[in-house]
Symmetry: C2
């Protein structure tokens, strides 16, 4: 019998070889082994291709013959306590981590000064924001997330046969990879320093991240072109000035990229804002530099606004370490890469509010948010397309139309100038001026999108990145809830003791608090950002139409003496 899976989310194919799947669509898999985070299979339309492994759940209840003797349902009825215990006490997680860190950072310390960003070719580009998202799903930083247990990819099959009490068989689901499962099952362990404690408090609208008591911002100025190896290599350096230190540091895109990888690794249920996409060609063109700088400013704004991200060590190191102190930089870099409090262990650092949440209410909130993100993603996509097209029309069509009108007026005035009589001179000049005014207005239209529509597109790009992060975050939370339900069932059937269940509940509560706090934060910055951006847009539009009006008023005056 074929191995079947159910799509958990919509996935739209963006590259050759991929197939689109719809939420709840039943898919046929060729193998339960993923290829770098992708499954190969056939969708319900019979289209064959790849889709992200984390977007689907494998269906086991038809006792698929492709599984080893133990199917999921069998294991439910026969939980194996010892193997469960094995998992809750992982051995030497650090060593395992160390290995995968190096993969995650895409190079060793020795490579640090190489241009692994700036000299990258198109082939290893992460592509668009969407592409980045898939990349993060599959390999790279997130491969780390299975490694809080001693289980490695090589012995996954063996592990499955002995430890499937309530363990997800899809080793590549985000719930597993993020460390969410390991944490819920009590497998995470580590020493949490006081300074690392992250508090979730109960606010007016539910769980919230405790506010950053030392809020700060950070400017990004003057991207400058730097060269090294006697001008053989060149790169762009950005000047960062955090308000809490007032010390300027220079950072390159590759530093942002490295930081981003650390953050994604560390925070399973926090939506790390995407950094602007890489670009291989034309990196030093004014437009690109200006566009990337704007993207980095947006990114920085979201980083410093986030109560957890803003305060985390690796970000502070990035913001404050003197660029010229190579030694200090490397030390901080190594420390970040060895950080134990990542993935599953991150949840250990969270202090939830005293009263546990009602899981039913949590589930309903999460479901509501899932619907919200889909709607927002659709509308952001539509708005982005519209705004993009509107900008294009203003730069081309609108400009052309106004300039054609301007030219026609000028041609008329030139014809009129053939009449040399004194009483027509004033009119001829006024019409000529009108022609020039409309040509100028055409230019105004072409220049305007840069001022008002581009910032909207920048905002949408950032939020589209967040929206692409949420399926994974939701997946982690839902995975935890599922574990709670399973454990309740087990305890009713006498297959699990109450203490174990309470531990699972408690840990699920932590994940839920963190997720809801993150969602709350998302809504707050969303309202703040969209309000500010809409106001900015309208102000720019008003200034634009006033500028046109002013030009026309000036033009009209020319007729007074005509």
């Amino acid at each position: 019998m074929a191995l079947r899976a159910r799509a958990l989310y919509d996935f739209n194919s963006e590259n050759p070889g991929e197939v689109s799947v719809r939420e709840n669509e039943i898919l046929t898999l060729y193998s339960e082994q993923d290829i770098d985070g992708w499954f190969e299979g056939t969708n319900s339309k019979g289209e064959r291709g790849l889709f992200p492994a984390s977007y689907v759940e494998i269906l086991r209840n038809d006792a698929a013959s492709t599984l080893n003797n133990n199917s999921c349902t069998e294991n439910f009825s026969k939980p194996s306590a010892p193997s469960f215990a094995t998992f809750s006490a992982p051995t030497q997680p650090q060593q395992q981590q160390q290995h995968t860190y190096q993969q995650a950072s895409q190079g060793s310390d020795d490579d640090w000064d190489d241009d692994w960003d700036d000299s990258s070719t198109v082939a290893d580009e992460p592509g668009t924001v969407g592409g980045r998202y898939h990349d993060f799903e599959g390999n790279g930083p997130s491969t780390y997330r299975v490694s809080t247990s001693s289980m490695s990819r090589g012995n996954a099959q063996q592990a499955k046969s002995s430890a499937t009490v309530s363990r997800n068989l899809n080793r590549f689901s985000t719930f597993v990879k993020s460390g969410g499962e390991a944490f819920v099952l009590g497998e995470a362990s580590g020493f949490v320093k006081d300074g690392d404690k992250i508090c979730v408090v109960l606010g007016q609208h539910g769980p919230e991240w405790q506010e950053n008591p030392y809020p700060f911002a950070c400017t990004i100025d003057d991207p400058t072109k730097q060269t090294k190896f006697k001008g053989m290599k060149s790169y762009i350096s950005y000047k960062l000035t955090p308000t809490h230190t007032q010390n300027q540091v220079n950072r390159r895109y590759k530093h942002f990229d490295w930081l981003y990888a650390r953050l994604v690794e560390k925070f399973p249920v926090i939506s790390v804002p995407h950094i602007p996409e890489k670009q291989a060609t034309g990196r030093f063109e004014e437009d690109f530099i200006s566009k990337r700088r704007k993207g980095l400013i947006w990114w920085m704004n979201h980083m410093t606004s986030h109560p957890v991200l803003a305060r985390c060590d690796v970000f502070q190191h990035f913001l404050t370490c003197n660029s010229t102190d190579e030694k200090a930089w490397k030390q901080g870099k190594r420390k970040a890469e060895k950080d134990e409090m990542v993935g599953a262990n991150f949840f250990l650092t969270i202090s939830p509010p005293a009263a546990p949440l009602d899981f039913q209410e949590v589930e309903s909130k999460i479901d509501g948010f899932k619907t919200f993100t889909k709607r927002m993603d659709d509308s952001a996509f539509q708005l982005n397309a519209t705004v993009n097209e509107f900008a294009r029309k203003q730069i081309t069509g609108f400009k052309k139309e106004y300039q054609k009108v301007g030219l026609s007026f000028r041609v008329l005035s030139q014809a009129f100038e053939m009449d040399q009589q004194a009483y027509s001179t004033g009119l001829n000049q006024a019409i000529s001026f009108t022609g020039e005014a409309y040509e100028a207005i055409g230019e105004y239209f072409a220049e305007q999108p840069r001022k008002d529509l581009d910032p909207i597109m920048d905002l949408l790009a950032l939020y589209q990145g967040h929206l692409a992060n949420y399926p994974d975050i939701i997946h982690v939370q839902k995975g935890a809830l599922t574990k709670v339900k399973e454990s309740q069932k087990h305890v009713e059937e006498g297959k699990m003791d109450r203490a174990q269940v309470e531990g699972i509940d408690e840990r699920c509560n932590i994940i839920s608090c963190a997720t809801l706090a993150e969602i709350q934060h998302f809504h707050q910055i969303r309202v703040r950002d969209f309000k500010a951006q809409m106001q900015h847009y309208l102000q720019q539009q008003i200034a634009f139409f006033q500028k046109i009006t002013g030009k026309l008023e000036e033009t009209l005056q020319k007729y007074d003496d005509a």
Copy 2:
């Protein structure tokens, strides 16, 4: 040997069967007999087809064998005084006129109440402004213009053989048809009443029509649909109220049409403004009625602004005769149709300034004006096309773009409304309002051309009509000047006596004065009209952009409470 002709003006073919000709192009004619004002022939590219007879002059100096024994050059050297005398004393011109008047008015008195306008079919439409111009060239009213002599179409051939001293052999040239030639040759005669006298005075810029001492205007209001024959026939009636009588009269389009025909017939070197074109279908649609009314208002404005047209009897009859007094109307109508002071005789009514003009200077002015009209015609054509396209773009494309933006904002606000938290309600409403505002702005764009671009197109249409009149007017004046040159040559060669030459000079001076006065008037109303229209356009544009700004300012305020 082929009959050849030289093009006097550019002619652009507009209909199948016509060929375009360029000024000075040498053409081959199939016959010197025109077909309703058109010659059939071949242009220099070898294209065969029709072109207006009045746009060309037949070339006689190669002693074309197609001519009867007397070629133009032969006649130059052998002027035949008696035959010349024959022409200078036409017999019974009135009778001949009477006959052609009836043709010109397109119907007898008995037909007056028929719906020869309103029930006309597409087939007898005058077509576009350009088409109207050719129509006027060919047949209809202007056929009259040969009839101040006893010569009729039937004996043209015979006349030519006996009277070609300095007579244009093209009986269908405007110079001939307008009566210009007959007048220059002293063939016009009639009794000029004091009230009919038209003075040309020497103004600051040269000859000018004496100003109308009793200037007036006339409003055109409330076009209403009227029916007769128990509703079987319906027509639109316009309410005209001249300021000098303050008595409202009702006139139908056919009355305007009849008046127009009278005016064209009467005034050889006055540019009678074209009435709005006929339209067979959809005559009672709001848009059409409104458009025609606007066209008639423009027309009326040009009529009342013209020192000669405004005062002429037929126009005054049209403006003042009580619509219900059938008898008075018919009387005035018959009187206008029997008017002797038309065509050649019109020139008799003109009193030139005391000092005669310098013909060389006149020729240079006329040439300059000819160049001017061409340039203005080209630029008006271009502006009209641009403005028309600009209006279309605003009604379709611009509207669509702004409305798409509006819709996308609304869709975003709907997505945001899924987040039920209190702090986002204000923003959601504000974004929703922004969406509606942009949809409204889309409508503003669609509505605007009616307010600012349509009036420009109306103005251009009127002026394009005038520009289409000028080749004929220039032709008449140039014809007169040619006669002067010929006569000077003749007198040098002793073939003509000085008194005859002086008479020709005097009459050419009258035509020149009238032509230059008309050109002066044209420039003056042009400067007045274009100034007013450009000011109106800019005022409307300013109001438009202010309206948008106002809407956006209102929208921006919604965010204050958000």
